[in-house]
């Protein structure tokens, strides 16, 4: 196949063939790319850190505006060594026991069951968007963050944190 063939010159055939390949000067492009790479390497952020916004109760912080429907349901999640206790102002109280302790002695919380319960709660009360997490002193920061993450993922985005 001669897909990329040169055009044939008719007529005399003695004309000098001119090259059809244009030479592009790539040096400025390389300069620009080098500068871009240097700048981007300096400003690159390799670890993506996110934030989970929480409010704290009892420190004089301004209260967020809530509608009457939201005020009707107060959801409280107590977490400690025994596990979770999910209670609402509607009268429900659900215990989610912990899964025991891990190899290093840390508490293993049943986050999957908590997520299921919170989603069930959210489907029953679609207007509910706030939850108060009450943690014991021994609960680690890692467990607290994972519980807040589960709450946010279940649709209860306005999380308040308080001690027991």
């Amino acid at each position: 196949m001669g897909g990329g063939g040169m055009p044939e010159e008719g007529g005399s055939g003695k004309k000098k063939k001119r090259s059809l390949d244009a030479v592009i000067n790539v040096v400025p492009a390389i300069d620009l790319l080098s500068c871009c790479i240097a700048f981007l390497l300096f400003t690159a952020v390799w670890t993506q850190i996110s934030r989970l916004q929480v409010a704290q109760l009892g420190t004089g912080a301004p209260e967020t505006e809530t509608t009457e429907q939201q005020k009707q349901l107060m959801v409280t999640l107590a977490m400690g060594e025994r596990g979770f206790n999910l209670a609402t102002s509607a009268g429900t109280s659900i215990d989610i026991p912990s899964l025991g302790r891990g190899e290093k002695g840390e508490i293993r919380f049943d986050l999957k069951s908590l997520g299921d319960q919170l989603k069930q709660l959210k489907s029953g009360f679609p207007d509910a968007s706030s939850i108060t997490v009450s943690a014991e002193d021994t609960v680690s920061y890692g467990d607290l963050v994972q519980v807040i993450d589960t709450c946010v993922g279940s649709g209860l985005a306005a999380v308040s944190v308080t001690g027991v």
């Binding site: 690159a44 609960v139 680690s140 807040i148 993922g153």
Partner: protein
């Protein structure tokens, strides 16, 4: 002195003479070697695209520290620029300045506040007010980032949060590793959902 191409440069009267067997009179070989730069340009373009994807306009708000291992979170938001309270298993640091030892905090556990932390945060707030003095439109939002090791107990975090609230920082952000990047660091696929 003019710049000449490298190579043999005989004296002018020898250049065309046959005294050296005509070696000097031979045609000059081109000394410019042509390099194929297309693969290099391709590679640089790929690098630029990759680095542009990594680019973050907010920059690095929190610096990863050796003694602080952050927990993972899947539903976190983008981090904002605010004072950072770093809590490791040994000390509490505010914007690079140590304000308390964890051992001391455990010793005087009867109190809820941490005076040195409050003082430092009040200084930060005063600085913010001074900077925004001529800008009446800006509103104090009281944001503080708490970056704690995943093993730090809540009794310490609670005291830090209380001190932040007393100093006027009532909008607390807990720092966590984005689950996608955390999985990438450990060589695992990101969690589904």
């Amino acid at each position: 002195m003019p710049i000449v191409t490298p190579g043999k440069r005989p004296a002018k009267r020898f250049e065309k003479s046959k005294i050296l067997g005509g070696k000097m009179a031979r045609g000059h070989k081109a000394t410019n070697a042509e390099l194929n730069v297309v693969p290099m340009v391709d590679m640089m373009t790929m690098l630029v695209i990759f680095l542009l994807q990594q680019f973050s306009s907010t920059g690095e708000v929190l610096y990863m520290q050796k003694d602080i291992k952050l927990p993972d979170a899947r539903h976190g938001q983008m981090i904002e620029i605010a004072p950072v309270v770093a809590i490791s298993s040994e000390q509490v640091v505010v914007t690079g300045v140590k304000v308390a030892d964890i051992a001391d905090l455990d010793r005087d556990s009867g109190y809820l506040n941490i005076p040195t932390l409050e003082e430092r945060l009040r200084d930060e707030k005063k600085r913010w007010e001074f900077i925004h003095k001529s800008d009446p439109g800006s509103k104090w939002d009281g944001i503080v980032n708490i970056q704690a090791d995943k093993t730090v107990p809540f009794r310490i975090v609670k005291r830090v949060m209380y001190s932040c609230g007393v100093a006027g920082y009532f909008n607390v952000n807990f720092a966590a590793l984005d689950a996608g990047s955390a999985a990438a660091q450990q060589g695992l696929p990101p969690p589904a959902g």
